[in-house]
């Protein structure tokens, strides 16, 4: 009876909501029956479906940035609405940490990237998709290894330590994650990019100070999606990608060319009886021998498959968002892949009018094989370089079709050079490095509105991981007779279990008193991280098909003088180890935001942090900041200038910090190792002593930053410009330093020494260029320039790292080496130049200068500097080319400026976005090229560029002669190996198509939508750089002092993606 009545009184209204500016359908529009809380929101295709009581008269359609519309229902069941853009309300909301703020009221420097923008590029780890999206944020994806992260630098490199920003995900401080570089599987790759609602990047100290001691390198705030009130929607997004490597930048020699090179290298030194000569002669006499392209054989096209299912459901009281993601990537080299599974559940519930309770929960597991990676600096993992270096005459298979050289008795086929050396493909396939990460990560929070405007917020979270790493090194092949050397086999396993708990309580108060708006917040946070781990290793397995501890190992016999066996011990002693470390943070903070009449804005922030990393005296630090804004456009005198819809001047100054030092550094350390033993009574007696002295003065790196910015909006904000200038100084750099020798400690302590300055300018333009007849074209452009200077260092001493140097007055991690001045073209030039390694008769007794012999015979050509060698500049004019006096800065590893340009076009259901990225004024040290162009004894293949080498006067002025043993040391670090790493890249093109509503209805889909998309990533790269890719990451551990060196990183490839999005 009652049911009947209800049925009679209700009806369903459906429709589509579109925008009047041609941008198409509007998802997320709130539709309410006027005067009630009965309502829904539109789905991603702008459709809604609402049950309305019969007595309802009016529906209200509201959406941020659009005028709210009221529509009479009448008898209609289909109501399509076009909402009108409201420029004055086009106010984005920005997450500023502990709350949000309307963009117009922001006084600091904050960049925002929406989840939608982020998900245009199919990436395994979200930070990669930030590339070029925000001014002042440099993202470097230095490795194409599946699961590798990217390195983020916000406003330059502020530290010699890990200079990564602080990540805050759903209010939980994750820390300064070293995701980037070529070194590891990024922990950030455990976050499903599809779950991200928005990313807000706090750049200046007035914005970051609320995160205090760890925010000095910027803060990246990630907000995940939450449920919305309205009808349940299910969203399925699936895509498949193919990855293809672009090898066009350089090529290697073919077999014949290689033989010619090798023989000319030997001829140059008059060596007529070298190893392999019969083979080389055979090739040169025209024998047609089989050749092999090892890289080609190892290479495969990579692929990505991703399936993402999410559900959004919500009533007025409760909303949930839940998602399930499967991600599978195969790399372009064997044994490099990543599989990831993530589940998320975010929920919000209201109890009564004042209490809101919610949770966040994410569970993820990733399994990665990283053999094709990982650290290109490590010789044992340098697969790219090793594949390219494999001699073209070196066979891949033996006569039986097995990998050559692995079976005992594999013939040393006549002159098949390098046959006996390693087999890189077999090594890659058998080398096994598996990284498994499991992570459970969740929070529960409650917001209670005590009075109107006064909200108490409390949150507790736990982040708990279990990680496993298993590395198997197979027996190396050493020679044909004993095919494998089992003694080199090794199994290492590591387990660790980090967990962090985190609690936060805040009190917020927001109130308007006439023209005064105040928004104050105070809070408390505590965080504790504990990491425990265990590792074990064993080697010299007898049978390397079975990788288990306890399997038989090769042994050594210990005998006495008579040859009697006293004991049998493993050849490689198994080892175990464990570790534990713990750190904690306690923080108090407060912020007051005040504005008068929406015109004069002021934000004052202070945070007090206590960290367990420092001693009691230095433990607490206070980080204050202040910023102010003036919305000039709100002034009376501006009202006449109609074109200018917004004009705001901002300025801020603040102090934040960085605590990036190892744990327990402030403490002294008692060493008990072999170095503390001494011998009494003929045997070792254990000793113990402080091997590191306490340094109670150790404290934070302090980052002081000034920011001045201007926001301008024209034509009702259809054109928006933002420009920011900053000056950022990092003082008290945490560095290990060598104290005076007289201190006499065994290990160097850490101290706060050194200063770095970054200054820069950032510029952003957002423009809606055209809205006409359903066609919309908009452009986002950002460009930023940063200049970096090391102001001081401990004892102002240079810090060397391979070809990098960190020197006072220069940029951090600059490239350092000899400056070349072409090649010597003839003997006259050789003997007219400062001493490199010319043939010397004697040294002048008075001046100490060398007296050259002037000899030009074969022996001199073979053993000394000769025509065709690189001429280096004698910087101090002392007649000697020496490392102490003649090396100079030869390159900058930091770009002068970077930019991103995104154009989006839409017409009806078709969308196109074209995204370019540019990096300019950066130098790279092409270390891979050194290995491919140098003249050394190895049978390694060379790069085709050596065909253009110096072969007589005037033949080349840049590629030195081929000369065995390289007597001039042409391979030394010099500007010859430095290349311009600037590039412009067509980073992403995305074309999407929404199936028309009518078609959907025809196939019975009353709501929801279907979207197809095709994406091309890294399609074109314009660069002079001769490596695989100019986007070279940081070498080790995110260390900015070792930047810009390309050791043959796992290259980034082109990616072609097809995908479909389905919602209902």
């Amino acid at each position: 009876m009652l049911t009947q009545v209800v049925w009679a009184q209700e009806k369903t209204v459906r429709g589509t909501v579109t925008a009047n500016d041609g941008s198409g359908v509007l998802p997320g529009v709130t539709i309410l029956v006027q005067g009630t809380t009965n309502g829904t929101t539109t789905d991603m295709n702008g459709n809604y479906n609402l049950l309305v009581p019969a007595d309802a008269n009016v529906l209200t359609f509201s959406y941020i940035g659009f005028r709210t519309q009221e529509v009479e229902i009448g008898n209609r069941t289909q109501i399509d609405v076009e909402l009108e853009v409201d420029a004055s309300q086009l106010e984005e909301v920005v997450v500023i940490g502990f709350g949000t703020q309307e963009k117009k009221d922001i006084t600091g420097a904050v960049s925002s990237v929406s989840g939608e923008e982020l998900n245009e590029i199919p990436v395994p780890s979200f930070e990669q998709a930030l590339t070029g999206r925000a001014a002042g944020v440099q993202v470097t994806t230095g490795s194409g290894t599946p699961g590798a992260g990217a390195s983020l630098r916000i406003r330059g490199v502020g530290s010699t330590n890990n200079a990564e920003p602080l990540y805050v995900i759903d209010g939980i401080i994750i820390g300064n994650v070293t995701g980037g570089g070529q070194t590891s599987i990024s922990p950030l790759s455990l976050i499903n990019p599809n779950d991200i609602e928005s990313i807000d990047i706090l750049k200046d100290a007035s914005a970051t100070a609320i995160y205090g001691a760890r925010a000095g390198n910027g803060v990246v705030i990630i907000t995940t999606k939450r449920g919305k009130e309205g009808k349940m929607s299910i969203n399925l997004d699936t895509y498949t990608s193919v990855n293809v490597l672009d090898r066009s930048n350089f090529s290697m020699l073919n077999g014949q060319q290689w033989a010619e090179y090798y023989s000319s290298m030997m001829n140059e030194v008059g060596n007529t009886d070298y190893v392999g000569k019969p083979f080389v002669d055979k090739v040169l006499s025209g024998a047609d021998l089989p050749t092999y392209d090892w890289f080609d054989y190892a290479y495969r096209d990579g692929s990505i498959n991703s399936v993402n299912l999410s559900v959004n459901a919500g009533s007025e009281k409760s909303q949930i968002f839940t998602s399930l993601n499967y991600f599978n990537q195969e790399g372009i080299l064997p044994n490099s892949d990543l599989r990831r599974y993530t589940i998320r559940l975010n929920s919000d519930h209201k109890f009564g009018k004042r209490l809101k309770v919610g949770n966040t929960l994410a569970i993820s597991r990733s399994e990665a094989n990283t053999v094709g990676n990982v650290n290109a600096n490590s010789n044992t993992k340098d697969w790219i370089g090793r594949l390219l270096a494999a001699n073209p005459y070196k066979p891949i298979f033996d006569a039986e079709g097995d990998y050559a050289g692995l079976n005992a008795g594999d013939p040393d086929a006549e002159g098949q050079l390098d046959y006996l050396n390693e087999h890189p493909i077999w090594n890659m396939e058998t080398n096994y490095n598996r990284v498994v990460r499991n992570r459970i990560w969740g929070s529960v929070f409650a917001d209670y509105e005590i009075l109107e405007g006064l909200v108490f917020h409390t949150m507790g979270s736990i982040d708990w991981s279990f990680n496993k790493n298993e590395a198997r090194t197979p027996a190396n092949t050493i020679d044909g007779a004993a095919a494998r050397d089992e003694t080199t086999s090794r199994l290492n396993m590591n387990f660790n279990e980090p967990r962090t708990w985190f609690v936060e309580n805040t009190l917020r108060y927001q109130k308007q008193f006439g023209k005064h708006n105040i928004n104050v917040m105070a809070g408390y946070q505590a965080q504790n991280s504990l990491n425990t781990g265990f590792s074990a290793g064993a080697g010299a397995f007898v049978d390397t098909r079975y990788w288990f501890f306890g399997r038989p190992q090769l042994t050594n016999e210990i005998t006495d003088g008579e040859g009697n066996v006293l004991a049998t011990v493993p050849l490689v002693q198994p080892g175990v180890g464990n570790f534990q470390n713990e750190s904690a943070f306690v923080s108090y903070f407060g912020r007051a935001i005040y504005d008068f009449n929406d015109k004069y804005l002021l934000t004052v922030t202070v945070r007090r942090d206590g960290s367990s990393r420092f001693g009691p005296e230095q433990r607490w630090g206070t980080f204050p900041a202040v910023s102010a804004g003036w919305r000039i456009s709100e002034e009376a005198f501006m009202t006449d200038i109609e074109q200018v819809s917004n004009l705001k001047l901002r300025a801020g100054y603040g102090i934040s910090g960085s605590d990036n030092t190892s744990l327990y550094q402030w403490n002294s350390r008692v060493g008990t190792g072999g170095n503390q033993e001494y011998v009494f009574n003929g045997g070792p007696v254990p000793g113990a002593i402080l091997t590191r002295l306490a340094n109670e003065f150790l404290g934070w790196e302090e980052i002081r930053m000034l920011n001045v910015g201007l926001d301008i909006g024209f034509f009702k904000n259809r054109l928006e410009l933002t420009v920011d200038y900053f000056d950022k100084t990092t003082d008290g750099l945490l560095l290990n330093f060598a104290p005076a020798e007289e201190v006499g400690v065994l290990s160097n302590p850490s101290g706060n020494l050194g200063e770095i300055n970054n200054k820069g300018i950032e510029f952003t333009v957002n423009s809606v260029n055209m809205i006409q007849g359903g066609f919309k074209w908009s452009t986002n452009f950002n460009i930023s320039a940063v200049s970096n200077e090391v102001v001081s260092l401990p004892a102002n001493a240079d810090r060397f790292n391979g070809p990098n140097i960190t020197r006072v007055g220069e940029e951090i991690g600059a490239l350092y080496g000899f400056q070349s001045n072409g090649l010597f073209q003839n003997w006259e030039e050789v003997y007219g130049h400062a001493y490199q390694n010319q043939n010397v008769e004697s040294f002048d007794e008075e001046t100490g200068l060398p007296v050259y012999s002037g000899a030009t015979d074969q022996a001199v050509q073979a053993n000394n500097t000769a025509p065709g060698d690189i001429r280096y500049v004698d910087q101090n004019g002392d007649g000697f080319i020496d490392a102490d006096n003649d090396r100079v800065i030869i390159g900058s590893t930091l770009p002068d400026f970077t930019w991103g340009l995104n154009n989006t076009f839409s017409y009806k259901g078709i969308g196109l976005s074209v995204f370019f990225q540019g990096v300019h004024g950066i130098d790279l040290y092409n270390s891979l090229r050194i290995r491919q162009e140098r003249s050394n004894a190895s049978f390694a293949n060379r790069r085709a560029s050596v065909l253009d080498r110096w072969q007589g006067e005037g033949t080349s002025n840049s590629i030195p002669r081929a000369v065995f043993t390289d007597p001039n040391s042409n391979e030394r670090a010099s500007d010859i190996w430095v290349e311009d790493g600037s590039f412009i890249r067509l980073k992403n093109v995305r074309l999407s198509y929404n199936l028309p509503r009518t078609l959907l209805q025809a196939i019975g889909m009353q709501s929801g939508g279907v979207n197809f998309y095709a994406v091309g990533t890294n399609l074109l790269t314009f660069t002079k750089y001769s490596g695989f890719d100019p986007e070279v990451g940081l070498r080790s551990g995110g260390n900015p002092e070792t930047a810009g060196v390309d050791n043959g990183a796992y290259p980034i490839s082109r990616q072609f993606t097809l995908g479909m999005q389905l919602s209902f």
């Binding site: 108490f456 002294s668 350390r669 009494f680 003929g682 254990p686 306490a694 020798e741």
Partner: protein, 524 residues
């Protein structure tokens, strides 16, 4: 209002800051250490380890200084770069040998200072405390003594720097360094037990003997002739009352000599102070327990052959064959000659073949250094040796006694003559009369007795004022005896630069108050 108070208190829940007190759970920090008797015992052991750490006596401090003398030279060429420039006085302040020597002794001193600063607060008896302090003050005194011997004026460090970054001591004049050394040794002399609790530890006798040496060397170095008498007095006390003697009871001079450097005799009656080593089986370059000096001094030509490992850092000058009497049993004991049979456990396993080798550094007539080869365990694992380095032997003390006796008043007593003759007698040489015992004769006796033990060079250094021709004649004799003109030459030797080493460049760079010596800073 009540509401606000509740809220405020909620806000501060858990605001306990004790959670910030985190120390490394994997091992003790200095806060937890130096508390118990065990802690102090271990710290004292670790202080001793400063003697055998890779920097000080591991190899450089021994072989290196012998290479400056007229005894041996580095047979290596560019393959052991540091030594090629070292042995010809072509080194500079960047030389790792210099850095290691300086660094090594300040590490020893730091470890002693840790005990001196912290042991008094430990829960131990006065007796234990004084013994511990006695041992480390001996070691600290020895460390400063070596530093002033090698470098001249050096910073005196007697504290633990509270702020390592700001620590920058100035060099003190050598005379003040000697005062500090003597103060430390006197403390050790009066607080140490006369009997070593463990074989290898220093005793009050060690301290007395070291005092004798310090007075003797200090008298030379500082021109303080009153100290000759003090040296004589301390040496007399040791000779008359101490537990020491010579290994001279086999009846065969060569066997007696061979028994000096055998592990089973280590810290025996002749060994007053030895830097002990133990073969831990690790890599020689990182552990400090195993020693490398015997391997470093063995001839390079026979490396890894005939049970002989060698770097060849101690080839014997050609002239020495003429200078050294064949009657002296020590000559054959110390030197490998061409075609000399290599006898291991009674079996001839090969012949010393200098000329037949085709290696980098063959010199005609190049004689190898043999002294430390006899020690059996040097012949096994990776050239590591358990052999201790002899800092002071009783034979050395006897000769220092004779010298102090002579120099104290210009006359030598019969006891002094007996002392030198005891040493000669063991070598199979006839006794000298009092008239024959001149300072030059004592110096020569020291050269042959302590050949290869790193002592000769410091005799040149300390006698540079009172016996300046000692070094000149020595170098001239080597040059004259070099018939084929392929030995090391000493032309680069300059007294102002080379008697005392320059401060290492790293010490200059890190300590703004340490000023390089004029002879090394001018023109740089």
């Amino acid at each position: 209002m009540k509401k606000y108070i509740i809220i405020l208190s909620i806000l501060l829940i858990g605001s306990c800051t004790e959670m910030l007190d985190q120390t490394d759970p994997t091992g003790p920090t200095g806060e937890d250490f130096f508390k118990s008797e065990t802690d102090i015992e271990q710290a004292v052991v670790a202080a001793y380890s400063g003697l055998s750490n890779p920097n000080s006596f591991h190899r450089i401090g021994v072989v290196g200084f012998e290479q400056f003398s007229d005894n041996v030279y580095s047979g290596s060429s560019t393959t052991d770069g540091a030594h090629a420039t070292w042995t010809t006085f072509n080194y500079d302040p960047q030389s790792t040998n210099i850095t290691r020597t300086y660094r090594g002794f300040y590490q020893l001193i730091n470890q002693c200072n840790q005990v001196i600063a912290r042991a008094p607060e430990a829960d131990i008896s006065t007796e234990v405390l004084n013994q511990a302090l006695g041992e480390v003050r001996f070691l600290r005194g020895f460390g400063h003594f070596m530093l002033t011997l090698v470098f001249g004026d050096v910073p005196i460090v007697t504290e633990l720097p509270a702020d390592p970054a700001g620590f920058a001591p100035e060099a003190s004049p050598a005379s003040e360094v000697y005062e500090q050394v003597i103060a430390d040794l006197q403390f050790a002399e009066s607080n140490l037990s006369p009997v070593a609790a463990q074989n290898g530890r220093v005793t009050s006798w060690t301290a007395k003997a070291m005092l004798a040496k310090v007075y003797l060397f200090g008298a030379d170095e500082l021109g303080n002739s009153a100290w000759y008498g003090l040296a004589e007095q301390k040496a007399t006390e040791v000779i008359n009352g101490g537990p020491y003697g010579l290994f001279n009871d086999s009846g065969n001079p060569t066997e007696d000599l061979i028994s000096i450097f055998q592990t089973f005799n280590e810290n025996g009656k002749e060994h007053i102070f030895t830097v002990n080593h133990f073969n831990g089986g690790g890599n020689w370059s990182d552990g400090n327990v195993a020693s490398q000096f015997p391997m470093a001094m063995n001839p390079r030509q026979m490396r890894n052959r005939n049970n002989m490992w060698g770097f060849g850092w101690a080839y014997v000058y050609e002239a020495i064959d003429q200078q050294w009497s064949d009657d002296d049993a020590r000559k054959d004991y110390n030197i490998w000659f061409q075609d000399e049979p290599i006898i291991v456990n009674g079996d001839t396993t090969g012949f010393y073949d200098q000329l037949g080798q085709n290696r980098c550094c063959v010199r005609d007539n190049g004689m190898g250094f043999q002294k430390f080869w006899y020690q059996e365990t040097t012949k096994n694992v990776n050239g590591q040796s358990t052999l201790g380095f002899p800092v002071m032997r009783y034979a050395d003390l006897l000769l220092m006694y004779a010298e102090a006796d002579l120099l104290a008043d210009g006359n030598i007593s019969q006891q002094g003559v007996d002392a030198i003759n005891a040493v000669r007698e063991r070598a199979g040489l006839p006794a000298l009369s009092a008239a024959e015992v001149t300072l030059e004769k004592i110096m020569e006796e020291r050269r042959w007795e302590l050949f290869g033990e790193g002592k000769r060079w410091f005799d040149f250094v300390r006698k540079r004022t009172i016996l300046p021709n000692l070094i000149n004649d020595a170098f001239a004799a080597i040059a004259a005896g070099d018939t084929d003109n392929d030995d090391n030459d000493f032309s680069a030797f300059t007294p102002e630069r080379h008697y005392k080493l320059p401060y290492p460049q790293s010490a200059i760079d890190r300590n703004p108050n340490l000023v390089q010596k004029p002879a090394w800073s001018a023109g740089e």
